[in-house]
Each structure stands twice: as C-alpha cells, then as structure tokens.
Symmetry: D2
Subunit: 358 residues, 4 copies
Amino acid sequence: MTQKIPVAVLGATGAVGQRFIQLLQNHPVFEIAALTASDRSEGKRYADAAHWVIEGDIPEAVRDTVLLPTQAGIVGARVDVRIAFSALPNDSAQTAEPEFAAAGVTVFSNASFHRMVKDVPLVITEVNPTHLQLLQRQRTQRGWSGGIVCNTNCTVSGPAMSLRPLHDAFGVKRVFAVSLQAESGAGYPGVPSLDITDNVLPFIKGEEDKMEAEARKLLGLLRDDHIEDALLALSAHCNRVAVIDGHIVTMSVELDSPATPADVIRVLSAYRCADVVGLPMAPDQPVVVRAESDRPQPRRDRMTGKGMSTVVGRVRAEPLFGVCGVKYVTLSHNTIRGAAGGSLLNAELAARWGLISS
Amino acid sequence: MTQKIPVAVLGATGAVGQRFIQLLQNHPVFEIAALTASDRSEGKRYADAAHWVIEGDIPEAVRDTVLLPTQAGIVGARVDVRIAFSALPNDSAQTAEPEFAAAGVTVFSNASFHRMVKDVPLVITEVNPTHLQLLQRQRTQRGWSGGIVCNTNCTVSGPAMSLRPLHDAFGVKRVFAVSLQAESGAGYPGVPSLDITDNVLPFIKGEEDKMEAEARKLLGLLRDDHIEDALLALSAHCNRVAVIDGHIVTMSVELDSPATPADVIRVLSAYRCADVVGLPMAPDQPVVVRAESDRPQPRRDRMTGKGMSTVVGRVRAEPLFGVCGVKYVTLSHNTIRGAAGGSLLNAELAARWGLISS
Amino acid sequence: MTQKIPVAVLGATGAVGQRFIQLLQNHPVFEIAALTASDRSEGKRYADAAHWVIEGDIPEAVRDTVLLPTQAGIVGARVDVRIAFSALPNDSAQTAEPEFAAAGVTVFSNASFHRMVKDVPLVITEVNPTHLQLLQRQRTQRGWSGGIVCNTNCTVSGPAMSLRPLHDAFGVKRVFAVSLQAESGAGYPGVPSLDITDNVLPFIKGEEDKMEAEARKLLGLLRDDHIEDALLALSAHCNRVAVIDGHIVTMSVELDSPATPADVIRVLSAYRCADVVGLPMAPDQPVVVRAESDRPQPRRDRMTGKGMSTVVGRVRAEPLFGVCGVKYVTLSHNTIRGAAGGSLLNAELAARWGLISS
Amino acid sequence: MTQKIPVAVLGATGAVGQRFIQLLQNHPVFEIAALTASDRSEGKRYADAAHWVIEGDIPEAVRDTVLLPTQAGIVGARVDVRIAFSALPNDSAQTAEPEFAAAGVTVFSNASFHRMVKDVPLVITEVNPTHLQLLQRQRTQRGWSGGIVCNTNCTVSGPAMSLRPLHDAFGVKRVFAVSLQAESGAGYPGVPSLDITDNVLPFIKGEEDKMEAEARKLLGLLRDDHIEDALLALSAHCNRVAVIDGHIVTMSVELDSPATPADVIRVLSAYRCADVVGLPMAPDQPVVVRAESDRPQPRRDRMTGKGMSTVVGRVRAEPLFGVCGVKYVTLSHNTIRGAAGGSLLNAELAARWGLISS
C-alpha cells in the first residue's frame, strides 16, 4: 500500500477550513499533517479553537491537533508537507501563500488574491486541467520549489462547468448569468439572519466582477507562460437568498453556431474529462442534466456526485439569441465543488501528473 | 359629501380576495356591498369561511357579511354594484366575469384568463392608462353594459413600470429578466414549506410565457379595437424564493439608443403619470430609484409608496449591450401593486374618466 | 447467504412512503416486493405517481415498479410478503391494516389509528421491545396470522427515548414538554410556506393529546393481554417552526427520587438496549448526550446515528422540582427515527425474535 | 400647544437605537434633540453612520443629524435634554448612564446592566408603574438630579404582562416558560443566518437567568427603598427560531387558587392600567386574548396594539397543576414592547407623574 501524502490545511478553523478537514477524512491519497490558524488560535487544540458550523461533528482525528501559526518556516520545521490547502482570508493569503510556495509547498488556494495573477493557474479540474502546467513556469520564473494553484469563485463554478462543453462544441459568445447564492458562500458568521429571513440581497460585493473575469480565464488557452482569455463575454447579476448550500445560476447563452436544446442536452450529458477518471473526488459525471421541469433545486440536488457535479436543468431555447440561443439553470455546491472539494480534485490531478514537488 | 360607489369582491375568501378587502377598508371612493365565494362557502359568514392569511385581522366591517354565490344574477338581485373586483381562479373567471360584464358590472380582474383577449384592456395604471378606452369598444362589440379590465401578472408589474419611461425616452429592444418571486404569488396554501425552506424553485408554471406576452401588450399602442403589441422582446426566467411578499426582477435591457446609467436614473426618477394624480391608491412616485448598492430588498422596501411603487436599484451599464445597455433590479409588491392594489387603481382611474357604466 | 425477506410498502407515494423506500435500499434483511398506493395511482409506474420530496432521487430499483392497490387480496395474489410497512393515512389504515393482518402480513404502521388499541403494541424498539410480544396475543384473540405493530407519534420519540433510562433509574413523575417541530412532520404538501416563513405556529392538531397518551403506554408494563400505562404525567405544548427535519423538545422532568444533572448525563449516556445490538437500523447509542451549551440543533445533529439516535443536550437542574428536577433538550429525526426508521427497527427485532409469521 | 420635551437617544445607530428613532417620529410629547454614538461614529451624519436594518427608511428628520459622543458633559453643553433613551451596549451603559443621571438626565434604559440594582426601578408600565417612584429615592440616595429607569429583558415582557393580572386575581406560584425568540432579539448583526436557517438554537446566553430574576422583581412590591421580590418561581428555557420580530413564550402556570380557563380569559381580557390611559404609546388593551386555536403567531399578530399589546392564545387547563393549573401562549413584539416602545411608555408615564426633573 502506498503511503499517503501529508498535507496542511491553512486557515483550518473557518468554514472552508472545516470543509477541507471533513473531506480529507479517510481520503485515500492525502492525510492531514498540520493545521494552521491565525495568531489568535495558535497553540490551541482544534476542538477548542474552531466553532464547527457544518453538518456533523469535528472529526475525532483532528480534535486534539494543536494549531500552528500560518507561517511556512514554523510549519516546515515541524512536518514535511508538500501540499497545502488554503482556506485563508485574502489578506493572509497574499503573504502566506507565496511563503509556502517558496518553501516547496504547492498551495491549492480558495482565496481570490492570486487568481488573476498571470502565471497562476486558475483551475476547475474538468474545465481546464492543462492550465495546471503553468505550475512549471511559475516555478522557473519565481524560483519556487512549490507553487500556487487557485480554484475559482464558487459562483462561476457551475456556469464554467456547463460552458466548457458548449464552448468546445458550438463556441460561446455571450452569457447573461443571474445567481441565487447560498448563505455559506459568505463564510461564517457571514450573512446576518436579519438580512436574509423573508428577504433577498440583490448584491454581493465584488462577485459580479469575479465571475466575469474568471470565466474568461477558465475557458482561456494555455500559452507559453500565461492564459490567453477566452473571447466570450459574461454579464452577471448576483443575489443572496435564504439557502444554506448550493448556488443556482440562470444562464442565457448566445452560441457561435446554431444548437437546439436537444443538442445542448446531448453535449452536456456526454461531457467527460478523461484526466480525472478514477480520482477520489471526481464525480462520475461533471454535468448531470435533469429532465424534470422544476429542477435543479439547491436542497434536493446539491449533493449530486457527492457535491462535485454541476446539475443542469430547464434546457430550452433562448429566443432573444435566435437559433444560437439556449437557456438553462445550473446548480453547484458552493462549499464542496466551489471550494474545498474543487481544490482537492485539483491537487489529486496535480499529484497524478507528478506536478507536486517532492 | 359624495356617496361611495358600491363594489363587489368576487372570490373574496382567498388570499387576493383578502387583500382586496383589506385595501377597501376606509377607501374614500369605493365601499364593499357584496362578497362572493365558491358554492362551498356560499351562505356562510365571511369570518367563518375565510382562513385569513395576511397580516392583521379580518376587518370588523366584513366579519358578519354573508357570502353570496359568484353569480351575476343572484348578486344583482341583492345589491346594485357597478364595479366588481375579481380574485377568482381562472376557471371561474372564464364564465363568471363575462356574466357580470353582461349584467352591467365593470369587472377589474386579477385572473389571467382574459388578459390576452383582443378587446380586453390589460392595464397597469401608470404604464398604459389609455388602454382603458378599449372598454368602450368592448361594450359596443359585445353588447355588454359593463366590461372586463385585467391587471397583469404580478411579476411583470415591476419590469413594465420601469420599462415604460425607458421605452418612451430611448426605446426598448430586448430585455433579459430573471425573477426571484415571493411565496404569496402562488396564493394560499400555495407553495409547500418543504419545497422552499433552504431551497429555490427554478420554475413557475406558465409564468415566463405570461411575462413575455404581457410586457408586449402593456407597452403596446391602442389602435381602434385592439392593442398593437410593442416590438420589444423579453426573455424571462422565473424562480421562487423564501420571501413572503415582494417580487425581485433583475433586468438586462438593450435600448434603441444610447443611454448612461445616469440618464436612466434621471428618466426613471422623473417618471410621473398625470392621469393618476390624486387618486387614493396612486403612489407619489411610480418608480423610486434607490442609490444604495444593496437595495431594493423585499422585506425592507416592498411597502414603498404603500406597496404601490416599483423600487429600482443598482442601475449600471450592461456591457453586453454596449452603449445601449443598462442593468438594474426592480422590486414590486406582488399582492398589492401586482394584484389587488393595481386593480383598485385601475378602477379609480376608470371611475374618474367616467368609464364605469351607471 | 440468507435470502432477504420480501416486504410491501403501503402508501408508498407519500413522504413517509418515500422514506421507507429510501431506507430499504440495500437493506441487508428486507427487500421491497410490492408498493401500494391509493386508487388514483394504482397501475402507474412509481416514478410517474410519486412526487419525490426527500433528498436525493427516486432509487433506480423502484422507478419502474407498478403500483398495486392497497388491498390485501390483490397484493397477496401477486407476491408473498410477510411484512408490510404502512405509510397509510389514518382512514385507509383503519380498514387496510387489519385486512393485511388477517391475510398473514405483519404490518408495521406509522398511522395513528391503531396506536391506542388495547392489544396493539406501540413500540420504540429500545424503549419497550417486550411489548412486541403482544403480537402473539393479538393473533390468538383476533384469529389473525399476521398482526399490527404501531410506532409512535414522531414527537414523543425523543422524549420517550430519554425518559426510559430515567424512569428505570429514578422514576419519572411529571414532565413538562414543549416541542419545536419540523415541517416534514406534517407530510407533503403539509405546512404552507405562507404559514411558517418568518413565523411560528403554536398549535398542531391532536399532537399534544397523542404525546401525553403515548408516553404513558410506551413506558407502561406488558401485562397478559394489554399494556398497563405508566403512572407518569406528561403535559405537552406543540409548536411548528421553520425547520425541514428534526423535532426539538424541551423537557422539565420531576423524578421520583433525587438526581443531579451529572447523574442524569451518566444514566442517559450509559443507556443501551441489548436486544437491538447488531440490527441494521440500530444506532450505536440510543441516546447521545452533548456537552456543548447550544446543542442539539436540528440541522447539525439530526443525522446522529444515521438519524436513529436521540440527541440530548443542556442537562441541568430544574429548580421548580427541587432535588428531583432536571431540565434538558431532546432532538429526534422525525421522519427517520420518528417514522420509517423506527418501523424498520421494530420489524428487524420482530424478525430476530421469530415474531413474523411465515 | 405645549412644547415638546427634548430627548436624547444614546447609542442611536444600532438596531434598538433605530427603533427609538422610528417611534419618536411625530411623537406628541417627545422630540429628538440629540443622538449619540460610540467614538467611532462621532461627528458623522446619522445617515452615514447607521446601517438601517428595520423596515422603512431613515426618517428625513435625522438623516443629517450629527452624532455626538456618548458623554453627558458634551451632550449637556450642546442641548438641554431632561430625558435620554439608552440603547447602549452593557459596557457603555455601565459608565455612561450614571453620568447622564448625575447630570440631571433621567435615563430610560434598554441595557441590562442596572436592572437588578436595588434602587433602580425595572418597569413594564402596565405591570408595575408604581415602581417608578423609586426614582425619588434613587435621587436622594445618590445625589442625582436625573436617574435611571430600566425596562426588562424583551423575553420576560409577554410573560410578565400576562402574569400581572393572574397574580392579582389568583396568585402565581410556579411558571414553566419556554421561549421561541426572534432574531432581532440578538441585535444586528446578531444571529448568523447559517445558525438559524433550517435550524433552532436551543440556548441564548444569560437569557434564562434574566427571565427568572426579572419576573420576580417586576411582580414584586415597592418597599421604602427597594423592591421586594415576588415569591413566584419561574423556570425558563430559551430558544432562538427563524423569525424576524416577536417572541413566543409557552406558559404552564400554577396558581395559588383554583381558576378555570374561562376565569383566566376573563381576567386577562379585562386587565387595564388606568395610569397609562391616554398616553401616546399605550395600547388600548395591554393583553389581547385570541380565541382561534392557532394564534398568536409572530408574523400575523406582533403588531397588535401597534406592537405594544401582549397577545395571548390557547388558554387551557394545565393538568399537571390540577385545578390551579393553566396553560397558554404569549406573544410580544420584542423590539417595540420589549425594547424601545416599552421605554417610551415608561418615560411618558414618568413625565405625566412629574418624575422628570426639570
């Protein structure tokens, strides 16, 4: 039996950190070797420092783990980790992630800080796996032995998963995307209940810009040392609704060439990514298309493919774009696929491809 | 002091019927003379037959009112009403509304059955008041002494209120509209709680078609004996969310001529309808534009203008439509402006214009 | 490998029926041989007749199963089932359950109709397993070859699970119980969203009486041909709150003899039922006591023990009952432990004990 | 026309401060002369510093009001206020309220800090109006020209309003009270949405102790220089539920002498407080008893008496207390009656009685 790869979770006490820990329990490839937190929690037992907010309990295996500071030197002095999963807030990510990368750790990050940096791959495993190759260039250029790989904003995840096969088959020109996002997307404590009970918040700071920029990079082409943005234009409107987990996005898509709803359903359902087959976190189907008129729904469908599949429904013609128009709805689990689970799958593929420095 | 006009409420026990009764309390122009219900409730006291579901209590004035059957002959034999407000379900509306119209009653209806009928005015008072003139033609053609006036689907109300001044100022070509609709839009019992707690329903039966068709008729031109549809094309995606009252609609609008967000804000804020000034249900401003980044919100803004104003926020450029594009959010109270309150204001204007047969 | 026991699910299309089907997937002892429904759905494919409302999808194995009418003769002519799980509404249960019992089927019922009948065991497996022996007497007296076993009202489940060990250790005299019940307790469509969004319903029809009567029978003693009610007195107040699954009940308990909170925690935590050890649906611990100040919580704790454990928290002194008083909170999953899962465990024990006629 | 009394609102930017400002609009007796905030907001316009979270908009009258620091000297140098309404957090209240009191201002406080202080009246106007007389003693003893009057914890408000007349008529011995409390009771941002969506929190820090202690003081007797606690014993269990405003409390009450539910309904419905008749904030009826089986409900009943009445329902026998037992439900609006509105009414009565130093 192969030995598992020891990993660190950076910023382990927050909501995304908790999800990482949950998904890493009994993981066949990775095992937790270190947990870090902000200075305030350093030195505490995990169970004392973390206010566990996701379903279930703190796993026994980490209850007594003592939290390390989020400093590459200190972590490196204690354990030899080659991979770190970062659930850091942006300001910590800005400085800590490069430090770990320089120290030989490949960081799979949920923070947005480095996403649009030229030589940092922004990857949804089944959407643009080859972008992981940028890691090599990043190492050469920066003299790092580790590296940084970002995963996307949780809201763009479902749209990008559905646009990938459509872009390949028909070309995607323009997209109107409107999100109905879950509370957990804002972290914990996040959205005050007084703001969302019997209410909708029609605005999420920075979210629309991120969706628009990240979609282009995700569907872009890997060039020598950077990603050339895809030409598609996406316009987003982001709303927060009273849902725990699972982001809904309605999509009105203008394709480059004509396609019927039946064509689109066929292409989406047939979409597979050979690179990920057999990886622990990989769902059987990246995109699951439902035929019912009223699906996907967050509570009923978010765990499709253990929370890693994008669920698409209501595929129909978009009359405003004529024969090149299609309308549908996507659902993606924002804290699994759109956060911790997405990072894990990225790391699994990077490990398979030998992109983790040893 | 002028005598009040006696009115009937048809289908008075349901949620919309209750709202009519609530809004007719202390109304300066109308007073309730008859309440009707389905056969099952006929002959009962209102307080015994109605399961009151809106805020507050059943008004004292109607608690003991005995429910009549929804039959023009029987109602007419008891009281002399010239106006009826219809909260009937579609199947009853189909037969009962024409009977009342034939019997000399002008019916202001919330049912969808007659909305797209050629000689039936579909009116939002400030959007297309002149369409009320179709009543005359309806009477001539059908030999009715009364008539039928419909108000719109509750969801198209906010979009239409905002599109009217934009259409006049710049022309509207295409609209992508995505709704986040309140539970009360489905009536009572309506949406099961198990379907909407921690959930979104991405589909509302028939709603998208209604929005698309009604928008064109609302913004259309009154011709001799019909409405010539406006040329604009609207594509809708309708969702149900866990909100009591107040429909949010995000709008991406392509205008015929260029306009900046500042232009749009100016035009929306300046929009007034002289015809309705001074009418009891008319809000001071049909469209209220808010400057905050995170408004309108259903719970906080739905009662703007006593629930009769459309609240617009987040006016910004729509990059996918270039210099002719604008994006914003509308909020409209679906059971006041989008239902009972809208009908009342239609009736108030019809009465002011002498369009109620006496 | 032993052959599985073929079972029927009566009333398979409703919410409880769905839960039965879900829990019977891959069950090591039972396998579904027949599904019945009301006349309206008879002859349809299950996937066409059922509006699936619980998480996940209709299991593949039953999608194409054709629904039989809920008639013992017709079911018996098609398949040889010895066990039926009944999710029937009360009016159907009244007539159909005895028919199946007479035809040799042991019915494990969720309906309330037969619960308080003298020779019908009302059983929570770990609370009063020996009451299952009443089946023998039932068969003798009624000439049935099958029988009827009821499980309890979903709300009394958590209280009874916690009272059993306290009653054994200290005696229970009086209980003030206040419930905060989930929406799913009312079935589907059940509670209208307009009644529960931003609201509490402080009344659930018949529920308080059921809790009070069933608690006494559950903790009662098996006599020759009936259960002698326990002497304890329980007073209930039942509320509905905006929660999907999981009933919270606050408990103020007067014991017969003094006990400290530490005593109570010890007794509850140590509580085991040897009879159920190793049964597929049996949780490791019937009662799980949590130490955190703010648990149990429905969303975070309802799946404890796969939804079969009762979770207790906030154990503290009840000053109004002096040294004999204790206060705590219970949580029980109402559609698993309190309904389908409870019935399954009852059937598993009955099968182990040879109480299923063959 | 009498001149209005100028008042200050201390801690004006938070949720309770906002409610004070809202209720003081167009108040016939008081007018806002000063608003204070923490150092962070000092010197800002109110509209810039306050994140308005209650329904409606910031009143025009205070939008441009410049916030003063919460310091008696600085406020006193600017305006001559005799009354201050305190929405301060406990730590500020501890020092600031006595400073204002020493400076001649009578402070009506929502903070809990001084509630149980011996010479501080803890008052619900209709429950124990005479306790306001303690102000005189407070002034003598402390040498203050102003003073401090506290209002109660928002949760004890409904129970105390209902217990007052029962205590007078029958004597109250023991009370089991279980609350289902609204989100707004925790202020803003308060309860995270991830903690309350599809959930119940069965614990609110410090709340149960407050309810138990305050109930005894509220129903106690005014002695020379202190309040002698009532002998009744109340045991509370406090829960948070997904409701915006309005605390439900279920009550099981043991009286000193027998009373039927009809007796209790009669006494509660007849309860009036002559002292408050005609005061602006006084509701017509302190306690409104509803006959429907499923009321009161927070969303539908919280605005009874403009949010100042306690609504009682489901009055029935409490079998566990025999002929002396009664069970019912109370509802009280926690941010109106239980906070800002309660303070206002206290101040109105104090002014009527000449207890405000001039």
